[in-house]
């Protein structure tokens, strides 16, 4: 019954989204006062129904109801409850249901809370939101129904891909989906503003919290995904330029650009057409991200199913939405009035540079990700574009971008003088120069890019806290703190990346029990292996004892696991985090002479990468709270004016 109830809720929600689209479109016309009230109610109801459908699916997974095909294919009664729960979205259908649910809930929240936008713009926004939802409901109901029954009922389920049986999975995909969907809300606002020709600061202020929120979730999702790949895949890397990683990076880049241009629009009423364009691009990127990951065009841990019909369906949706958005933009951009002007050397100028460089990086990642697919589709040649391309093409631009990030907040709005800017950045530049000097003296063999990266990171770290210099810290607005924190986070992450790439030490051995290896400042003794068992896996566990110089000994226990359902080997690295980095050990196979392959890494300050990512997200959160609080306070005045 639960499956049928879920399906019914889904159909009802789909019908309501059609109603929302029609009512919303009708309420755009003059005199549609009552129409908007109806649209609001329908949007909330739709959110509730979609949420119910998703709760029903979770319920089915928790009970391991094997009469439902999706549960039988992806779950197993012996799985720990956390992975039964997370398994609900650890598959194609469930994850698409999650997508739609978040979209519907976001639409409901906009309908409930948004009071600042003019009536017709809000109606158009909600109609656009319904139009996006409708496509995904169709996709779910016709091509990926999560509630299909199975007959005969199997005795046991297939189990979940063991790589996905990790606490990280419980929140990594939902975080990214929140991000994608938040961007779709920003896009709906942009469509609404275009339809009613109302692109201005009010629209920017309504859109900004959604862009910020989406951006926070994308930042968290990418950071968490990077750490997950680092410890779960056992290769010791933190970013692989894998197409699915790029699929999440591209919306982030676009959202970052949008976040900055929307600020110009909200505070200075500049960059109107450009901001709307970025909203369209950001949404297109999250659609392409969904397409890449969900269509099965890529073989990886993220592509749950390879079914060409689904790929075609998403491709049609993608073309329809992106094409429609671009067409609307092309039709209406001429009516967007020019915003206020500014000098090149000004805060606005720096933000424009930020936008251009982010767009350039986005273009490079986009080409590198999609070009191989295009080449294969056209000529049949298989081409793979890997880290060397991305690093050498995007790396220099990213460094330039970070340098501008350090200067931007120190510039005044409208116009500034070169001399006063030089005055303000003198100290950070000096600091960077000192680091560069120290590095070239004490680390002579260092490669150029990491050295430059460390230099820029230190200088920018100093520059990013400089806006607080000479201010009354208690009276500094929360969103300024947010900006400083986020920029500092970028500098911290950059320092971690440069340090990891420059100073990592690696040892690869086939070790006999009793043998001692050295890696970086550590000596590691291998004491042999033992079998261990978990709830649904068995493993060979290596016993290692490590110490740093004459310091205290500590144990490291990397495992080679074998999951029972489905039978899959995975490797669990042992990671010891110390103040200045991580010691990382992975175990391989045994050879004929009883030696075990061991791979050891000493990665100085590698943790800064994710710590920096966390800081960036925290900065976003501070800014969001600051903006929403100020918005609350400002609202009564605005309403008095209206």
């Amino acid at each position: 019954m639960i499956a049928e109830a879920g399906l019914a809720a889904l159909w009802l929600a789909a019908a309501l989204s059609l109603l929302q689209l029609l009512l919303g479109a009708a309420a755009v016309r003059p005199g549609g006062e009552g129409g908007l009230r109806a649209v609001r109610a329908v949007a909330v109801a739709q959110g509730v129904l979609a949420g119910l459908a998703f709760l029903f699916l979770i319920w089915l997974f928790l009970r391991t109801d094997l009469s439902v095909q999706l549960v039988a294919a992806n779950s197993h009664s012996a799985k720990p409850w956390l992975y039964k729960f997370a398994g609900a979205w650890g598959n194609h259908e469930g994850s698409m249901l999650l997508w739609v649910t978040v979209l519907a809930l976001a639409g409901g929240i906009v309908a409930l809370l948004e009071r600042r936008l003019p009536r017709n713009t809000l109606s158009a926004t909600l109609a656009a939101q319904a139009a996006i939802g409708l496509g995904f409901y169709a996709f779910l109901l016709f091509a990926s129904n999560p509630f299909t029954r199975l007959s005969p009922v199997p005795v046991e389920g297939n189990g979940l891909n063991p790589l996905l049986q990790d606490p990280g999975l419980a929140f990594h995909p939902p975080t990214l989906y929140f991000g994608y969907v938040g961007i779709s809300v920003a896009f709906s606002f942009a469509v609404g503003a275009l339809v009613t020709r109302d692109v201005g600061p009010a629209f920017a202020r309504a859109m900004r919290p959604w862009v910020l929120g989406a951006w926070i979730f994308l930042t968290l999702g990418i950071t968490a995904g990077s750490y997950w790949a680092y410890y779960e895949l056992g290769w010791g890397g933190w970013w692989f330029w894998d197409p699915v990683e790029n699929a999440s990076l591209m919306p982030w880049l676009a959202a970052t650009a949008l976040l900055h241009s929307v600020t110009v629009l909200a505070t200075r009423d500049g960059l109107r057409a450009w901001t709307v364009m970025l909203a369209v691009v950001a949404f297109s990127m999250s659609m392409i991200g969904t397409f890449l990951v969900r269509s099965g065009i890529l073989t990886s841990v993220h592509a749950f199913a390879v079914d060409p019909r689904r790929g075609a369906f998403i491709l049609v949706l993608l073309t329809f939405y992106i094409g429609g958005a671009l067409a609307l933009y092309g039709l209406r951009v001429g009516t967007v009035k020019e915003g206020s002007r500014f000098d090149l050397l000004s805060r606005e100028g720096a933000l424009v540079a930020n936008n251009l460089l982010l767009s350039a990086i986005l273009g490079i990642v986009f080409v590198g990700t999609l070009y191989p697919l295009a080449v294969e589709a056209v000529t049949g040649d298989k081409l793979s574009v890997g880290p060397p391309y991305f690093n050498s093409a995007a790396g220099p631009i990213a460094l330039a971008l970070v340098a501008i990030m350090g200067m931007g907040p120190l510039l005044r709005w409208r116009r500034d003088r070169l001399a006063s800017l030089a005055n303000r950045i003198a100290l950070p530049v000096l600091l960077g120069a000192l680091i560069l000097l120290a590095l070239s003296l004490f680390a002579p063999g260092m490669r150029f890019l990491p050295m430059l990266g460390l230099t820029v990171a230190i200088g920018i770290g100093a520059a990013s806290v400089a806006p607080l210099w000479g201010r009354n810290l208690r009276r500094t607005p929360l969103f300024t703190w947010g900006m400083v924190t986020a920029h500092l986070g970028i500098a911290v992450a950059l320092a971690g990346m440069a340090s990891e790439s420059a100073f990592t030490k690696e040892t690869l051995v086939a070790a006999r029990p009793g043998q001692t290896m050295n890696v970086g400042p550590f000596s590691v003794r291998f004491d042999g292996v033992e079998p261990v068992a978990g709830p649904n896996w068995t493993a060979i566990e290596a016993r290692l004892v490590a110490r740093r110089g004459e310091g205290a000994e500590f144990a490291l226990r990397p495992q080679a696991r074998l999951f029972s359902s489905p039978p899959t080997p995975t490797s669990e690295a042992a990671i010891r985090t110390v103040r200045d980095g991580q010691l990382y050990v992975a175990i391989g196979e045994e050879d004929e002479q009883g030696r075990w392959q061991l791979r050891l890494w000493w990665k100085p300050f590698v943790t800064l990468i994710w710590f920096g990512g966390g800081l960036v997200a925290l900065g976003g959160l501070l800014a969001l709270v600051g903006r929403v609080r100020r918005g609350r306070r400002a609202r009564p005045e605005e309403e008095a004016l209206a």
Binding site: A73, N161, S359, A360, G363, S392, A393, L508, P569
Partner: protein, 145 residues
């Protein structure tokens, strides 16, 4: 600055940024993109000695041979034709690397035809097949349908 001039300058800057990015991307693409070779491709097109490439196919049954150092292995990669590529790799192979199973490796060919792999790409899916070898290319979870 006059508004017209400002728009022009911004447009020029945008063009320079985009043009620069395209240029960077093209050079990097020409130097760095790795072509994918199946054993039959090597036989047909000859050895690509000037660049890093990826190869893919099936690890031949009984072909894995370990060196005395315990961390280097040699193996043969074959496909549906009779051609094979000899591969040497130093490191820990991914969890799903085994005989008669799909593999993708990145590295360079030596003049004598040996492929020195710098990386064996872990395919997360136990059912992964190089594109042309997959019997129907379908994922395991679909087999219930």
């Amino acid at each position: 600055m006059k508004p017209k001039n400002q728009r022009l300058v911004l447009l020029l800057l945008a063009l320079v940024a985009v043009g620069g990015a395209v240029l960077l991307a093209m050079t990097a693409m020409r130097d760095q993109a790795a072509f994918f070779y199946a054993p039959a491709d090597v036989a047909r097109k000859g050895l690509p000695l000037d660049r890093a490439v990826r190869i893919g196919g099936m690890v031949k049954g009984g072909s894995i041979r370990r060196h005395a150092d315990g961390v280097t292995i040699d193996f043969l990669v074959g496909d549906e034709t009779a051609e094979t590529i000899p591969v040497r790799f130093t490191g820990i192979t991914p969890d799903l690397f085994r005989e008669n199973s799909g593999v993708v490796a990145e590295g360079r060919f030596q003049p004598n035809g040996l492929f020195l792999a710098t990386e064996i790409l872990a395919k997360h899916d136990e059912n992964y097949m190089p594109p042309r070898l997959g019997p129907d290319g379908r994922h395991k979870s679909e087999s219930l349908e």
